[in-house]
């Protein structure tokens, strides 16, 4: 018989960005809120200098990431392949513990464009029927730029976003992104300092007529006090950012921006090593009664709650819904059911450039350091003649200079004296120009439960079915050609390309991106979305599911700003409407 804890008003599953934001918002509304985090507690003391400056521990052994031992994903590329478990991390690196991926992320904090939020409407208007793949399942988010804009603005203040404004209330600003949606307020802080590689990319991109701007950053360029009274110190360009906790209290994270304020509230509590295994439903299946979790002693505990917020990583949110029977599991053959539908990802690619006589000092960098341009996002160029929809963030980013991960030219020996010579010659003489491309949603890119492999509690692992589709491979080829033009301007002594092209399939072995999205998407039609536009389950009205899982497809660039804005948007509706009269916030009709 499970132990039972005293009832709370709201239980939050997972204490990363979305859980921390919901914690703030729901305690603001006077609720008693409990967060359950399956990983360990983490505070800034865990990242104190010099502990974090350890590449093997954090960059290579993934000490801050989820352990597949606890929750692997099985992966196949199509419905006919046998999915196999991802036994060690590779293509993506979800976070673990308090702070989640928000503690180890790079800190690129960028908005989608207004078009990205209404991509289906854009596609219907900009593409003739038959141009796009027939198995594509793209949708509008069901929420508009104007509705989300105040929430972007607020979260960017929470993070001390540093960058250069491009569009202030409709007026284009010099040096920023002329393609960004209109901002109601400028960036809270000026951009980070540039490096040799960002200068070179900037000049080459301008020469080709593009509109580069500094990577929008959540590594702060100046001291900053956020709306919660939390203080961040100016980034010291330590070079240990992506995959690491911040040694300097400069990277926006749940720890640096929210949690110490939240923990002071008497109506907030959290428990770690509390692994939620399912949401419990009332006999009629229409409301949740709380959650069941396994505590650190291995005991099963029932936590009653009036409201459940699933705020774990996108993939685990979907798995919890499937293992709890919230909504109907997606069937790719009949195209019925919505939970697991429209899983999407990000497509990467780039060109490594080597210059014998240029010193890049790759170790002297913030995580988000770099330049990007948005000339190739949907609506800013005509991709119809090339037969694809979507876009890419084109960028030169200098995320880190740690030596184990430093690339060497493909032609150099991988061992022996030649390896040593190459390491000596090329370390510090390399930069990369890259694209981060959108990935659309398709009938057979999806999530469900694996029939074979189980987690330590006997629950089925999540099964991912995902492969690159022709649309994305065409996009990748187009962007490669543009990056080649930039490389030509830069004139490196040597270069190597890496892109996904026609005939390539998804590989789990090499890192691609931790921008896993979709699977429990938001929308206005319950036949193609698991959540309504307020991130409320269509089927169980007191379950809200903020996260990347809500994206109906992925846009080009980084998801955190949108995930956070959607969470504030959902919280606003909960506070203004739901708490006064709990029930479905949208009618199914």
């Amino acid at each position: 018989m499970a132990k039972q804890q005293p009832r709370v008003d709201a239980v939050i599953v997972g204490l990363g960005w979305t859980g921390s934001i919901m914690g703030m918002e729901l305690t603001d509304a006077g609720l008693n809120v409990l967060a359950l985090e399956r990983g360990a507690d983490r505070t800034n003391a865990d990242f104190a200098y010099p502990k974090a400056a350890d590449e093997i521990q954090y960059g290579v052994r993934h000490t801050m990431m989820q352990k597949p031992k606890q929750s692997a994903v099985t992966i196949r590329r199509n419905l006919d392949e046998r999915a196999l478990p991802q036994r060690k991390l590779g293509a993506f690196l979800p976070g673990d513990g308090v702070g989640g991926a928000g503690a180890h992320w790079t800190g690129v904090l960028i908005r989608p464009t207004p078009t990205d939020l209404q991509l289906k409407s854009f596609a219907d208007q900009a593409f003739e029927p038959g141009v796009l793949q027939e198995d594509m399942q793209i949708q509008d988010f069901g929420v508009t730029w104007d509705e989300l804009e105040p929430h972007f603005t607020f979260f960017e203040k929470v993070c001390g976003q540093s960058g250069t404004t491009g569009n202030l209330r409709g007026e284009i600003q010099e040096g920023g992104d002329p393609f960004e949606g209109p901002r109601s307020e400028p960036y809270p802080l000026p951009a980070l300092q540039d490096t040799q590689s960002t200068d070179m990319f900037d000049k080459a991109a301008r020469q080709l007529g593009y509109h580069p701007f500094p990577n929008p950053s959540a590594n702060v360029s100046r001291a900053w006090t956020n709306p919660y009274g939390m203080q961040l110190g100016p980034c010291n360009y330590c070079g240990f950012c992506s995959r690491y906790g911040c040694v300097n209290y400069s990277k926006a994270s749940p720890q640096t921006c929210i949690l110490n304020a939240l923990k002071q509230r008497s109506n907030f509590a959290y428990r770690t090593h509390a692994n939620v295994t399912r949401v419990e439903l009332a006999p009629d299946g229409k409301t949740a009664t709380g959650v069941t979790y396994i505590d650190e002693n291995g005991d099963e505990v029932f936590q009653p709650a009036d409201m459940v917020v699933l705020a774990s990583y996108a993939l685990n949110n979907v798995r919890l819904m499937l293992n709890s029977g919230i909504g109907q599991m997606y069937d790719p053959v009949s195209r019925t059911g919505t939970v697991g539908r429209n899983y999407a990802y990000q497509i990467g690619g780039g060109i490594h450039l080597y210059f014998d006589d240029i010193e890049f000092n790759p170790f002297a960098t913030a995580g988000a350091t770099g330049r990007m341009f948005n000339d190739f996002s949907p609506g800013n160029f005509d991709s119809a003649p090339y037969g694809f929809i979507g876009g890419a963030k084109m960028h030169a980013s200098q995320a880190s200079g740690t030596p184990i991960k430093t690339p060497l030219p493909n032609h150099t020996p991988s061992w022996g004296q030649g390896y040593k010579d190459a390491l000596k010659k090329y370390y510090g003489h390399h930069m990369e120009i890259s694209m981060a491309g959108s990935v659309m949603s398709y009938r057979t890119n999806m999530l469900d439960l694996d029939p074979t492999w189980k987690d330590p509690y006997g629950l089925p692992l999540l099964r991912m079915t995902f492969d690159w589709k022709e649309n994305e491979l065409k996009l990748s080829r187009f962007m490669r050609d543009r990056l080649r033009e930039i490389a030509k301007v830069l004139k490196p002594d040597h270069m190597d390309e890496s892109f996904q092209l026609s005939g390539d399939h998804f590989k789990v072995t090499n890192y691609v991106s931790t921008h896993n999205v979709g699977g429990a998407v938001m929308g206005t039609d319950p036949s193609n979305s698991a959540l309504n536009r307020y991130l409320q389950s269509w089927d169980v009205h007191n379950v809200f599911v903020p996260g990347g899982n809500a994206f109906p497809q992925n846009f080009q660039a980084n998801p955190t700003d949108l995930i956070a804005a959607l969470t504030y948007w959902s919280a606003k509706k909960i506070k203004e409407t739901y708490l006064k009269k709990p029930g479905p916030l949208m009618s199914r009709a």
């Binding site: 200098y49 502990k51 350890d54 360009y237 010193e359 170790f363 061992w415 010579d421």
Partner: protein, 244 residues
């Protein structure tokens, strides 16, 4: 073009930079706190904790071919930098035991390699099996152990492992391990030991960092990031505060 900063700016920079030197043992995460502040051992005197004497002899010989020492050319080698010590210590760390990995069956080893690692073996077991089968191959092919072969022959054995031309299954049908996967782990771990912080046992006196110009755990470049295309003037520091 690369150039040294002039003396004035260099001195100003040095004044501003040397304040942040780490001076603590590494707490948490690794079981190295006790060893951290001890001087790096001499490789010839090191007693391996995990590897057997025979395995150790193989590793010393193989590491010396993967990253050869000063005698072969410029720059320190894997043996000069205690890489085998790193390998031995990693086998006692969570990594050696595949502590973070999903190791539940069934193990399907005939799927696409693009779906990633599917062996039922921890890194410890990969070394034990891989070294044993490589030695068996050397005995069969050359009548000698790997470490008794001359350098060129050792290289061709390593190339045979790398290209998966050496058929482990034919040597010993019980194991599913492919030669290329054993080689890949050995090479990756060797490079890790060469380039990781010395607190983990390799990269003795940060020699590899000094060779390439990586400043280690300094982790503070606010006053340097604006100086473009100028060689960074300071040597590395390690997590325990050693300066190079």
């Amino acid at each position: 073009m690369a150039s040294q900063p002039d003396n004035v700016s260099r001195r100003a920079f040095l004044r501003g930079s040397v304040t942040l030197i780490p001076a603590v043992g590494l707490a948490g995460g690794v079981s190295l706190t006790a060893q951290a502040n001890e001087p790096a051992p001499n490789l010839s005197e090191y007693q391996p904790v995990f590897f057997s004497e025979d395995e150790w002899s193989f590793l010393l010989a193989a590491c010396d071919r993967l990253i050869p020492g000063e005698s072969a050319g410029q720059g320190p080698g894997a043996l000069d930098t205690n890489v085998p010590v790193f390998l031995d210590r990693q086998m006692d760390a969570p990594y050696g035991h595949a502590d973070r990995w999903y190791m539940e069956g069934p193990f399907v080893t005939d799927g696409s390699p693009d779906l990633g690692f599917q062996y039922p073996y921890t890194p410890r077991e990969v070394y034990q099996k891989g070294i044993a089968m490589t030695q068996q191959y050397c005995k069969q092919q050359y009548g000698k152990r790997f470490e008794q072969l001359d350098g060129n022959t050792q290289d061709s054995v390593l190339q045979g492992l790398e290209a998966n031309d050496i058929d482990f299954a034919a040597l010993n049908g019980i194991h599913k391990l492919q030669a290329a996967d054993f080689f890949s782990q050995l090479l990756q771990n060797t490079k890790e030991g060469y380039l990781a912080d010395p607190i983990h046992g390799g990269n003795k006196h940060m020699a590899a960092w000094k060779m390439i110009g990586f400043p280690g755990a300094r982790a503070s470049y606010r006053d340097w990031v604006g100086q473009h295309d100028v060689e960074y003037p300071l040597g590395p520091v390690s997590l325990t505060g050693e300066r190079g």
